[in-house]
């Protein structure tokens, strides 16, 4: 499955700005970004620390509100949604993979993966079937009853990938997903995500400064000082 520019954009960003106040001093994290991302893309947002990668991901996923600008995801304008609507929108359309894995430590591997489907009120049998299937795909069969602290970093990130993908969201946002992994584990994880991207057509957007990620991405958006410095298709 390859992204297609003939289809409707998955994400449209216009004039996006974000200003934080740090100890009373305004800090411009994003200084006017215009972007379109199509379904099925495997895109890396790259740039040095402080270039605005995480802020960009947070805003396009509705985790944070912009100071200025508009974002449409699947044709819906985020600024028009209430907190509750945003929660429901994220639940049904987005999957997240975080640098620090952010698994719920009191839940087992299968419960962590199952969590979003519970929010979606998917029937128990269907949930169990999907959990079994996705854990098999990410190579964590037999780890169902373990809790996150009992897993290695790579295994935890695989659980996070399974959790992000199990509900078949349209978009997966990964914030520095390989930052805490060695290059071999990180590379394996990325290959797995690329395979899933090809197989399912899910859109992946990564923020990274990892060469491993950049090499595998199909599109590179380079941010510098809160602006898009370069946007290029690869391969």
């Amino acid at each position: 499955m390859v992204e297609t520019k003939n289809s409707e954009p998955l994400i449209r960003v216009e004039g996006l700005r974000k200003t934080y106040t740090d100890d009373g001093v305004p800090v411009e994290a994003l200084r006017g970004i215009d972007l379109i991302i199509y379904p099925g893309e495997f895109t890396a947002i790259v740039g040095p620390s402080g270039s605005g990668k995480t802020t960009f991901l947070n805003i396009i996923s509705g985790l944070d509100r912009p100071t200025e600008g508009k974002i449409w995801i699947k044709g819906r304008l985020l600024e028009e949604m209430s907190d509750k609507e945003l929660s429901d929108f994220r639940r049904d359309n987005l999957g997240f993979i975080f640098q620090a894995y952010n698994l719920i430590p009191v839940l087992t591997v299968e419960e962590n993966v199952e969590y979003i489907m519970l929010l979606q009120r998917i029937p128990r049998e269907e949930r169990k079937r999907r959990v079994r299937q996705i854990l098999k795909e990410v190579g964590l069969e037999g780890f169902e009853k373990r809790r996150p602290p009992q897993l290695s970093g790579g295994q935890q990130q695989r659980v996070a990938v399974a959790r992000a993908m199990v509900s078949n969201p349209s978009l997966i946002l990964a914030d520095e997903p390989t930052a805490n992994l060695d290059s071999e584990t990180g590379g394996g994880l990325l290959d797995m995500m690329r395979e899933l991207n090809k197989k399912t057509g899910m859109t992946f957007i990564f923020s990274t400064h990892d060469e491993n990620v950049m090499r595998r991405a199909r599109r590179l958006i380079i941010l510098k000082d809160g602006r898009v410095a370069e946007d290029k298709q690869i391969g």
Binding site: S87, R91, I104, V106, L107
Partner: protein
Amino acid sequence: MLFKLAFRNTLRQKRRTIFTMLTMFGGFTLASISIGWSDGSYSRIINMFTRNRLGHIQIHAQEYLDKPSLYKAIDDYEAIGQKVQSVPGVLTWTPRFLAAGLASLENKTSAVQIIGIDPVRENEATYFNKKIIKGRPFSPQPAHEAILGKGLAEVLHAQVGDEIIIVSQGADGSIANDLFRVVGIAASGNQMADRTAFYLHLSEAQQLFVLEGKIHEIAIIVNKLSHVEKITRKIKTILDNNALDVQPWQEFAKSFYQAMKADVEGMWVMLLVILLIVAVGVLNTVLMAILERTREYGVLKALGTRPQHIFWQIVLEINIIALASIVLGAGLSLIINHILSIHGIHLPTSFTYGGIEFKSLYSAITPRSLYIPAITVILSATVVSFFPALRAARISPAKAMRIH
């Protein structure tokens, strides 16, 4: 999953959970024992006051209690008594003739309250014979016998076997006087009443005051103190007689009831103190938990958890701790209240309440000794966790996830 998350979160910081549980457990147990103690003591006081003396419900001629008079008497009391007895919950009833007079023994004279009683019925209703500390009960048939209250016997220096002259005014205006032999001395427990009580056989009191067939009071004993008001209403309905006042003990012993009610209200102050203790303990737990898990709440929100789920998860977590504390506290307080209800506590010096002397007090196991502390603990836990939970529910996920 909400419950699973909340429950497992309680096990994350075991030491903190145990500390919070101890606070709630202590608060619950303290409140439960206090209420059990209060209920036990007051029901004993009320019983002494009602079951053993005044009765739970009384019937008088209209306005007799406001302005007692020899002439405000009840006719045909046997028929009234039979109707009263037919009301479910009524155990027994007893008629009383009440009048004032002067009692003289040699050169001692004292004002007395003459109480004409039916010895059999009075004993059935208020265990009258058990109150006799010297001498014997009345003979089955009238025989010019009198039983004196302990205090009156002391005032008159009367002994069993002495003859006492009673002087008063009959209902027809004639001088009512007669001689009665003391057959017993009674201690009702009410020292004030015992200083004036002069018991006569009912029919002899009626003859003395020329009011044959009439009485002034019907005292009724019911099966449960808590049923008094309901049974009072039923008696009123069944008698359907405006010339009679049917009153529960809370009305005919109003000052006693109000004094006791004021004492019981002190319990709410104690509950407020307990509520504050629990609240401080819970607040500490909730604030620490939320501070530690802010990032986690951010993640849950990012995944699509609605704010209200975060809110309820925190409130539920605190209430799970509260419930566990209540179960443990209920177990301990039931054991303590049970022991205290059997053995009681013997007071080093006795005290009097409403004129009644108490040498020991007992606890009681009552539903409210469990549900009032339970509600107090649950309520304080919920209220205190409410605002921190609300804050956690409203936090921006991006901001929460920046916290390490």
